[in-house]
Symmetry: D2
Subunit: 447 residues, 4 copies
């Protein structure tokens, strides 16, 4: 593979950035330069040493020169690949995202993608992505850009809005979880060991965190009939409250049994392809109360935990075994290899709609399968889901478009139109306005 | 004008049928045969005498031969025009439409077009329209068909579903009320007498009862800037609770001040073009409680009143002065004159989308302006409303399409998907299911 | 009607400009200021006196103040309406348009809209319209602009390309001739006096000079069945050579019997709605030789005549009776009255596609019916013609789009792609290139 | 791989059928039953023995049971895969396809896909495919159907017209030749051995035999800049007449230097992706004369040779070495393996448009890349070619659609509209009609 210059924006991070380094170390055919950039300059500089330890621990010394750069232009200049994984605003901002809506009776299980919290987070994040796109345009217009930051759809859309010629995509592992869920079902249904998730071939359609499986195969086996049977079995939806309570106790915020994913299959004809905590936020029927949510075995991630872990992450000291690389479930380095001409791959990606999603306008950022190869991503036309699913996705995508336009034009009145139109909004117009204004203040958002 | 054979389906009715006769009497250039058909055969026969009185009272004896027919095929045979204005199911069915949802916390101000009540009413009405379309296909395939029955969009769509070659349109006077509202504003703004509503030229877009004005002119005056000013003035939205209370007392269910119509203009950029009681039902922000609704001066029409007036209507005895014709606000006879080649007119109509509404699929029944002339209706391309409005309308139209498909295929599971997706649905999935099944039973709906 | 300031670009002309003045004089409710602008400044100044005579001869003195302006910005400033009727380049340029292609065996009957001649004329005209649009944007952005210059579609498209916010339309009387042709048929078929062309209601679709009638009514009579009968009668296509010879002798270049218009109806299912000399140029089957063309009774307008009459026009001295106004077949002043709020009208216009033509991309300049009223033109959705007709129109529109893009980008290689793709092109690629380069030289076209 | 039952319609053939057997023998993981069906029953029975020899010669005895069936229903029953490779009508029919148009001055280099000959061949072939589709629907509705018969697009479209639920695709090796051409260029440009064509990754768009390459990569090298350079070098288009003469002498009808393919790149911006003899037939600029065609080194395949070789093919006696299998350039067996769940592949296929080609209506049969895997073909969204190329392809696709509709409705008047609209048509309307009627007679085509 050819020598690659990579820049990580958010290179001072303690999670994504480190994971990416480990993946690089694991993939022995990669080599080149790794540039760490972070608005927290010290964090980026600190991570240089971590990176060097990662390569050393994994017997990969010398493959990558690692440097930190304080100026974004210098960091980007000459890059072949840019990775973006940042936290837009301080963790404290998420107080407004999560707690204020709750005070008005709007519950959110994650609050970083959709709902009032997702919209406010977008308002903090999107201008940063406009700025990054401008810098990419100036310093490395031919580089490929991979975004991992939420709200995924809007951050990726922001890159294209500010620099339409950008070569960008958004990556997310939620769909992999659905494949893992299906792999476990395969093991059970066919009495075989759990296959690798990559053996589960799916056709999918939607927007990030609100994506749906319309077809699923394992080898020559069509999995949909068995899934539909499962969704029509009332036992599948047995009360999950006890499970939810235990998850609360154990702080297993991310676990789920895909009951909400299956509920979409039951009622609307396609399987949700994200964790239940994400799926629940895009429609009004699951977050009417914690009690209701718990019946699906799903719990909300609380602000207090986010606050606590953010601090822990910052202070974390890595042991050598933390830095030991193995085959991960992240595809960033695989994607890099494809785009640099080393191989070809079909996987799910977030990209501007060129026709792969028939029911959304061209240009919208959508999630579906694509073929990645030398310097090229070509979307695969997704099968149409039932109209009921299209309807739900269109609403979400329209609210995203309104949010993007509002932030681009610095128009908080249009942002309020998006806010009101969000599927989680269950307040009277005037209460909604009151909440909106409080959230703007809490986020300290001014143009 | 050429001799015209007209059939009124619902010809035994005491309101629409009589009004239409009066309009025929008023328009002296019309002549021909008027056939009354009703599933209540006696009512149709009784109305023959009323019709004769109408023509007599208005010095129009002899222009129309009036007959009642008991068999629909005989009633339709040879007709040039078919008018449909029926009540789908007994008034008692509306108990289930209105009261059951209320028990679950879903308030509806009208409940005949959208919301849980509208969907159940559609499930009663739509099969009747499939049947009527079949009869038209067999007995008078070239006749023009005007539907006045609610849910307007779905009943008209049902005609096209069962007989794609039908020449049908839906007519509704809600938009005229918006023109009247604007005419009154014109009087105030320009210090002139209130002009006729036909002098208010508007561009409009949407689906019936959820239509929006994007442009409005009176003579050379663009009214939009003044309307926007009005919508941005907080005085416009002063508390209407006292007004609402009075309307409740006086049983003025239909009155409104267009505060909700203006609220759409304020928040979303286009003026609602229907009565507030209709507009309120298509979104979640106004019917969160009666208190909230009353702040807009709007009240809900109660089931008890419907029950009482249905009885009164049936028992009504017409006095001569009740039958005296004058220029009415209904356009049925004007439309008939256009289609029969007597004149040409631009007005708002409900028709299959041929491209007049850019943001909805072709074929959906939409409301916008059209040109009516000899044997022809050509839609006028509506200006696009802001995306926020498009998003709201698309949801409504998709739910309507799902409802139509469900009823066509006798698929109550798909009907439940529509039921869940209705913008008024604020229940948990399981509560929604419970309500759905109760409403099916209450409507005594079986395939 | 309100006072109107009108600017004629090409105000020194001896044909259109004078006709427009006569129409103004005829319409007694108009008044205001008429500004004449022409790149031939003296011609504009000379026409001031002619204008004054026009108003005097027609007893309309004082209704319009007439002035000439030498600077376009001054001419446009404050205008409500701008009329454009210019000759792009000297008459001598048409030598290259017409005679050079003929030397290569490409015959053109008009050569100002399509074919090699039309493309070269566009290359001269379109930059002038870019410039005019820029001036309108600067000096009177809210004015309505009516273009009469050929190539109509491309000149109007050029206005929108350079100033997307412009309020422009293109007007052409070719469709009126089709209405007159139908009016004469009506007289014959129904044994009545020839009705006014406005009584013939047609639905039409296409691009200027290549427009098609899909429906035609006179009062309550559908004319299509009779037209189809006519097109299927072989007598309709009896040899027109003798007629053509006589027309040649009498220099009746513009006369025709609509045999080519009817030939489209016979073979493709829709009636051509322009003079045969225009229709013939958009397809390869009629101009294979003069002998072939003459069988339809159609002759080509020769360059020599154009040269001679241009001179005569310039030198023409008007007598009072030449300036006497009567009801003309031009609609410019009627359109002005509509847009200024004085009345409303349905007529055929050239406008950007907003959905009125389903088979062409949005934004293309298309010809179909529209409703004109106060400050507003709303297109009417045209009925779809048969696919065979759509296919022919799409080719023409695509070649126009390529031509526009080529001129906008000053890209003669793309212009050659358009040149090759024109339906009249029957040469080998290399001969086509040779002709293309000669024509560029003949037109003295350089960027 | 699972056991597969395959039926070859045209199983008595001496070319395709034998090649497919060899490919089956070469691919050692395939096994099952091979059913030969042919309207020439004896030929199918004779080929059973040939098939057995093929498997024996290649040490594959026993993998496939080979049988001949005389009744199509019995042949299809229970099949997983159906291969169609037939000759529609006797070779003598091609006299009318090729020689009659030539008498009117319309030259065709192949005459089996487009042009007057292609349309008449379609009229013979398409009804056979309607019939095959009906049989598939009845006897093996879940089977995959691969068509190899020309006109490819129309035969495949006919399958979907008669049985919309069919799982069919069309396969053609013309694009492989373009990849081979590029592979040879790669060898020259990069001074490497000629790579396998599968290493040349291309993005392509169009309809069969008129397909275009918009992007081409070899490893990390973008080939388009070098190709454009080649197309802009006048040496590339040096006179090929001498080469053409030699090819005529040697009867090398199929050889070409892709000069016409490159001429499209030069003038229109995308590389033709089929042999020049095919590309030349879809536009009017190359077949104006044999002299013109020869300058590109391309010659026409004469009817006399077709007649002679058809006879030779029928009489051919296979030697063992003729039946020896090796890796072929055909992909039929590879595609079968994908669809049966044995592997996954990206390749070019002919399929209904689901959005992969943005500029053609949904449902049209188009050629572009797709992903083939278990029981699934998903199209990849093709990059848009320049508008000039889109315009050419749209014309061709529209003429195909008209042809299909005409044959479906047995409407020779609509077929004539298609005939007139073909890009090779350069006759006057009346001469075209004369030729059309002669060709109908020559083909002995009656409904």
């Amino acid at each position: 593979m050819k020598e690659t210059r990579i820049c990580i924006i958010g290179g001072g991070g303690r999670l994504w950035a480190i994971q990416f380094m480990k993946d690089l170390a694991y993939n022995t055919m990669t080599h080149g330069t790794l540039v760490l950039y972070d608005i927290d300059k010290q964090a980026a500089h600190n991570n240089v040493a971590v990176a060097e330890r990662v390569f050393k621990v994994n017997n990969s010394e010398g493959r990558f020169r690692v440097i930190a750069e304080d100026v974004i232009g210098k960091a980007l200049a000459g890059c072949d690949l840019v990775i973006i994984s940042i936290e837009p605003g301080k963790t404290a901002c998420r107080y407004g995202d999560l707690v204020l809506p709750e005070e008005y009776g709007i519950l959110q299980s994650v609050g970083d993608t959709t709902g009032p919290g997702g919209i406010m987070r977008a308002r903090r994040a999107v201008p940063l992505f406009f700025e990054i796109a401008e810098q990419v345009k100036q310093y490395c217009p031919d580089a490929w850009v991979i975004n991992y930051t939420n709200p995924m759809t809007l951050c990726t859309a922001a890159l294209y809005k500010a620099f339409p010629g950008i070569k960008a995509l958004g990556c997310c592992h939620e769909v992999f979880h659905t494949q893992n869920f299906l792999a476990e079902k395969v093991a059970k249904w066919f009495d075989v060991p759990v296959p690798d998730r990559r053996e589960i071939k799916i056709d999918l359609t939607g927007v990030n965190h609100f994506t749906f499986v319309t077809k699923a195969y394992w080898k020559t086996h069509d999995l949909m009939p068995k899934l539909i049977e499962l969704a029509q079995d009332s036992a599948t939806f047995s009360d999950g409250t006890a499970v939810a309570k235990q998850r609360l106790e154990e702080e297993n915020w991310f676990d789920c049994d895909q009951k909400i994913a299956l509920s979409f299959l039951r009622d609307f004809g396609a399987l949700g392809a994200a964790g239940d905590r994400h799926l629940a936020e895009f429609v009004p029927w699951f977050l009417t109360s914690d009690e209701n949510l718990h019946t699906y075995g799903v719990i909300r991630t609380p602000y207090s935990w986010r606050e606590r872990t953010a601090k822990e992450k910052r202070e974390r000291v890595f042991k050598d075994e933390d830095l030991k690389a193995e085959l991960s479930d992240e595809e960033g380095v695989d994607i890099m290899r494809c785009l640099m001409g080393d191989k070809s791959m079909v996987t799910n990606i977030n990209r501007p709609n060129e026709g792969q999603i028939s029911y959304l306008p061209k240009g919208r950022i959508v999630e579906s399968n694509g073929v990645l190869s030398e310097d090229s991503i070509r979307p695969i036309v997704a099968s149409d889901p039932p109209l009921a699913i299209q309807n739900l996705i269109k609403q979400v995508s329209d609210v995203q478009e309104m949010t993007l336009e509002a932030i681009w034009n610095k128009d908080d009145e249009l942002l309020f139109a998006a806010f009101l139109s969000d599927p989680l909004m269950n307040l009277s117009r005037d209460k909604a306005r009151e909440l909106f204004e409080k959230m703007l203040v809490a986020s300290d958002l001014k143009y």
